[in-house]
């Protein structure tokens, strides 16, 4: 086509428009409207009308521009035939697309987790005496318990994704975990019978969590003690960091590991939660935040 003008949804004619794209010159320019172009003596209005027809059938033109194309075609046999051809083409394209639209509305998209080679999980929520908790499970077992007062749902999901787990919300799947947690908070349960899924957890952290998992209800041990348990005496700091990465707190009782002076040490949901959990388990404190030394099983 000889002419190269631009159409617009803007119904106004002769308005000043600025190209905003990075790919274009930043200089403002005045874009001629269809009517302006068509009224120029050196321009054939039929060329303007035909050039605007793709925009006409796709609904790209402003109301006045559309009306002009329509009116021009009404009075010009050549342009009317052109416009009707574009309209036939437009409906042919609609007809071509119809079976695809139907088929894709019935087709199930491939599973995102499978496409990415990630593990699938379901997550749900519970209200607890420690605040809201988010729980995620895979077919293997519980893969995450998160204190939502400490973070938010999205950060929990991102942490799961970093571990290669993609979770969808499905509350009913986490109910067995909620039931056991509720019994624990009500002091009716001292041991969890829940399979775990530590997918994406490093071998070192896993070994630390294995040792922590052997600490019984109401018992407390020091970080140094766990370091000895994994055969790396003196690695208390690394043990502390690994416990901080425990994806399933409460169920894997990292709260039962405290500092050698009896103070709480760091805890994923805040040390006050660690204190609260130990209280539930009947651990005695010599001062508000220091465990009675006699309770420590060093």
């Amino acid at each position: 086509m000889a002419m190269n003008f631009h159409t617009s949804d803007n119904p106004g004619f002769g308005t000043e428009r600025t190209m905003t794209s990075n790919h274009s010159s930043s200089a403002a320019y005045r874009e001629p409207s269809l009517l302006e172009l068509a009224s120029r003596p050196e321009v054939d209005p039929c060329d303007v009308a035909c050039d605007a027809m793709p925009g006409y059938v796709l609904g790209d033109l402003g109301k006045l521009e559309s009306a002009w194309v329509h009116e021009h075609a009404e009075h010009c046999g050549y342009c009317r035939a052109q416009l009707e051809a574009y309209q036939s083409l437009d409906s042919a394209l609609d007809t071509c697309a119809a079976p695809v639209t139907t088929a894709c509305s019935q087709a199930k998209p491939p599973s995102v987790a499978q496409a990415l080679g990630l593990k699938e999980a379901r997550f749900g929520f519970m209200e607890s005496i420690l605040g809201p908790l988010m729980i995620a499970t895979t077919d293997t077992g519980v893969c995450a318990i998160d204190y939502l007062e400490h973070g938010d749902r999205d950060s929990s999901l991102r942490r799961l994704e970093e571990r290669g787990i993609l979770a969808q919300e499905q509350q009913q799947f986490v109910q067995p975990v909620i039931d056991q947690l509720n019994e624990y908070f009500a002091r009716k349960r001292t041991k969890f019978f829940l399979p775990l899924d530590l997918h994406g957890v490093t071998p070192f952290t896993r070994s630390v969590l294995d040792v922590a998992n052997q600490i019984g209800f109401g018992q407390v041990v020091t970080y140094g003690c766990v370091a000895i348990g994994i055969g790396q005496a003196g690695a208390s700091r690394a043990v502390g960091n690994a416990l901080g990465r425990n994806p399933v707190p409460i169920v894997v009782p990292c709260h039962r590991v405290i500092k050698s002076d009896g103070s709480m040490g760091w805890y994923t949901g805040g040390s006050h939660l660690k204190h609260r959990l130990l209280e539930i388990e009947g651990v005695r404190f010599s001062s508000p935040s220091v465990v009675n030394q006699q309770a420590l099983e060093i």
């Binding site: 631009h6 794209s21 052109q82 083409l89 894709c104 995102v112 605040g131």
Partner: protein, 188 residues
């Protein structure tokens, strides 16, 4: 208790600065835009096997790059862009690998008007369909986004990494080519 929790979790909360923009998890982003990207893959490829492949390839590329994407990026346009570029590059690869197929298809889609007049409406539709598939990939992408998904030119431009004017030109040029190819048969 809640007050205590809030207080203890407070570092950085009390300084009054707005919280930084955090990108949604990948799964949440896909929940929002995955469906329409899948439909888009269908309209580009027109069959389930290819649509599934294109969608999966798009997901994999997006997941690998997601962490590097600025949190406030336009995820929807970004996904369209990955899907479109994947489609375009697959098309180019096919053309490179099998130039004969393309030549044959082009011969099929450019029947002479005399011959064409003898064909019924169903044949015409098939030919229009085949012609759309043979449009240059950028024009096809732009046409599908505008015609079948009703997207505005800002999103099409962002997807094709071009100006809105160029995006519009791609769509219109696609229609003009179709109009020219089926000139006599479409006029009423």
């Amino acid at each position: 208790m809640t007050e205590l929790v809030t207080h203890l979790n407070g570092p950085g909360d009390s300084n009054g600065s707005p919280p930084p923009v955090v990108a949604p998890p990948f799964s949440v982003m896909i929940d929002r835009v995955g469906g329409e990207i899948y439909r888009y893959a269908w309209h580009l490829t027109r069959n389930q096997a290819d649509a599934d492949d294109l969608y999966q390839e798009t997901l994999i590329k997006a997941f690998r790059a997601y962490d590097k994407l600025p949190a406030d990026a336009n995820h929807r346009a970004w996904m369209y862009r990955i899907a479109s570029n994947t489609f375009i590059s697959d098309k180019r690869k096919q053309k490179r690998d099998n130039p004969l197929t393309e030549m044959m298809e082009q011969t099929l889609t450019t029947g002479t008007p005399d011959h064409a007049r003898g064909l019924d409406a169903r044949d015409l539709l098939h030919e229009v369909e085949a012609f759309v598939e043979q449009l240059p990939p950028k024009q096809r992408v732009a046409l599908v986004m505008r015609k079948y998904h009703g997207h505005d030119y800002a999103l099409i431009a962002e997807t094709l990494d071009c100006s809105e004017v160029a995006a519009r030109a791609n769509v219109h040029e696609g229609l003009r080519k179709l109009r020219q190819a089926f000139a006599d048969r479409l006029e009423v």
